[in-house]
Symmetry: C2
């Protein structure tokens, strides 16, 4: 089980330490997404060198391929992917609602046809936990019911109440599973996994309050905010975030799921969020969209063809130290695998550095000024 220590705060922004059996996570922290047991294009050694402290694994994807039984037979997700530090797994719920052909949602769980071969799959709170425990992740997530926005408040309310009932079932299944694993000596010596609840409620502030209270009544090791950056407008995002983050316990980690634009991350840190995950840095990298101090660069553009300078002169990543923009453009235009690698290294370095700098700014009591200056430069490109 994790512990969370506040190292400092600045306004609502926090700098903390999450201690798990597999290592410490300095917050605010960004979790690179390792969908199928690999952060696409790079190795665990490269992740470590970039300073990554935790990665995210996707329960939905790993359940379908190779299956949690295979991962367990190969020693669990850490050994499988050769990553000894903490792993957070999601519940699979988001992918079921976004990728799969949804078949039926009822009180028992979700039935869907998967996106690979259309086979029917059933996911319940208990099953979502069982999969995550077979994977052996350090932070596990409750299965929640997602509602596509815009939605009627009544629909949102029904979903968040089901989310709370499912959260209680997840917690019971989680405890039972941990007890069984403890009995079998299958947990790390330093302690077992943690479980996070997920606050829903769309952009209706009163529903967010209800959801946050219901989940805290059940009691979790940390709390996530789900259902944001799913297409709502900027003001609704800001208002919901600013309203919801302070409803979560100060002494536990807070995780904003799926948000990824640098602007969103800085705003969320300012609102008191500690953890983030998003495919944006890795997916954009593979599409040739690269994050620099002065904004995004589309590396395929012909203006980079003979540019012998680095992608970002202010960047210390291996890509910027060793390669020119002209070479990066050539690799990308030629569809070379090395393009995906070098671009991914750079974008993740950007995100992980952003978190380190934000943390330093919080600890130095100058978060707002730092964030403002960062965004001014970022938008100036």
């Amino acid at each position: 089980m994790l512990t969370f220590t506040l190292a400092g705060s600045d306004g609502r922004a926090r700098a903390g330490l999450i201690t798990t059996a597999r290592g410490v996570i300095h917050t605010p922290q960004f979790m690179p997404v390792g969908t199928l047991g690999t952060v696409k294009a790079i190795t665990p050694e490269e992740l470590e060198a970039l300073g990554a402290e935790i990665v995210l694994g996707n329960t939905y994807h790993l359940h379908l391929r190779p299956g949690e039984d295979v991962v367990a037979a190969l020693g669990g997700l850490h050994r499988f992917m050769h990553w000894a530090r903490p792993i957070l797994t999601d519940s699979g719920g988001y992918q079921v609602f976004s990728l799969a052909a949804l078949n039926r949602v009822d009180e028992e769980g979700v039935t869907f046809r998967n996106h690979l071969d259309g086979a029917r799959v059933f996911l319940s709170p208990e099953k979502a936990i069982a999969i995550q425990q077979a994977l052996g992740s350090d932070i596990q997530m409750c299965l929640d019911e997602l509602v596509a926005l815009p939605a009627e408040p009544a629909r949102l309310q029904a979903a968040l109440e089901r989310t709370a009932r499912w959260a209680a079932r997840c917690k019971a299944a989680f405890r039972e599973g941990v007890t069984a694993q403890e009995g079998a000596g299958a947990l790390p010596p330093a302690g077992g996994p943690s479980l996070f609840g997920i606050v829903q409620g769309g952009t209706v502030l009163e529903l967010r309050r209800q959801s946050a209270e219901q989940l805290q009544d059940i009691g979790f090791d940390g709390y996530a905010i789900g259902g944001l950056t799913v297409g709502e407008d900027r003001d609704a995002f800001s208002a919901t975030l600013a309203h919801t983050a302070p409803l979560l316990p100060v002494q536990q980690p807070r995780y904003l799921m799926g948000a990824g634009e640098p602007e969103d991350l800085l705003e969320a840190i300012g609102a008191g969020i500690d953890l983030f995950d998003c495919v944006l840095p890795t997916r954009n990298a593979r599409n040739g969209s690269l994050f620099t101090r002065r904004g995004k660069v589309s590396i395929k553009q012909v203006r980079h063809q003979r540019d012998a300078g680095p992608l970002d002169p202010e960047c210390a990543c291996p890509t910027c130290r060793n390669y020119s923009r002209g070479y990066l453009r050539h690799l990308f235009q030629s569809g070379e695998i090395l393009a995906m690698r070098l671009n991914t290294l750079h974008n993740l370095h950007f995100y992980l550095s952003l978190m380190r700098e934000a943390r330093q700014a919080v600890l130095a009591g100058r978060y707002a000024a730092w964030a403002k200056a960062f965004l001014e430069t970022y938008r100036s490109g």
Copy 2:
């Protein structure tokens, strides 16, 4: 210009040292193929860690994409791809004859439509050299005329005589280019590039003798055998190799172009060959075909699914040290980029280790016994 020193020999097998301005190459040596300014899927740092001492760049591919003018503007091929050690470039001839839609071959050169967009391109001996000198490679190759086998001896003879005339033009263009680069201070301080001639003649032994003599009359820094492993049967390969290698100067490097099966390499080393290049280890890696001490392994097979052991228990490469067969299969089946990386690392490690062991066996005077034992194990899988 390179120098070649024999460190030892065993029968016809040789262990040597090629010294170039950019570093030493221990022979026998395998050159990983870096078609478009990158050995597909891996970095120069990884190549160094694997012990690679020289890589091959493809003149045809780099001429089309990004163009030698772009590479030159970005500091030459070494700086472009961040590889400071020796590079050999081919002449482009093989790709013209194998990939492009051939339009016309006459005494002046070759006109073809390229494989990317069908645009018409002209390649002559002078142009092949000019491109290689713009790229800045350390070992450059003459443009030769290739003939598809089987072919009439008269056709083969005409081609090898044109090859000799083209070789003389290549040498003249090479000298002129080097002199101009020297004048411009554009060569490495330790010395300029070298030029190799290519022996042709199909599987007609008398024609191979003629070609070898004609090229030595012109005089090159090293000699390659072209036009083998292009579909001829095993006996013809062996007979041509055994006949041709001893026709080449003892005091200069000998390079068998394009041969790649481990059996072929060991036979060629036994015949006195020093250098090899082939896409086999890297291309097979990307197709999931992996070389082990006990033969090739198709990693996609379901029998590997729950195999927690390494791909090759006798292998010290990063892939075998850190990952299970089950994980490698999962990555490959999921189309993950990491599959291409880990497989390529392993296969190149296999080839480069094979060369190191062969060299040690030559120096120890036990090459034939070592090769026999290696092949027995290799075929036992």
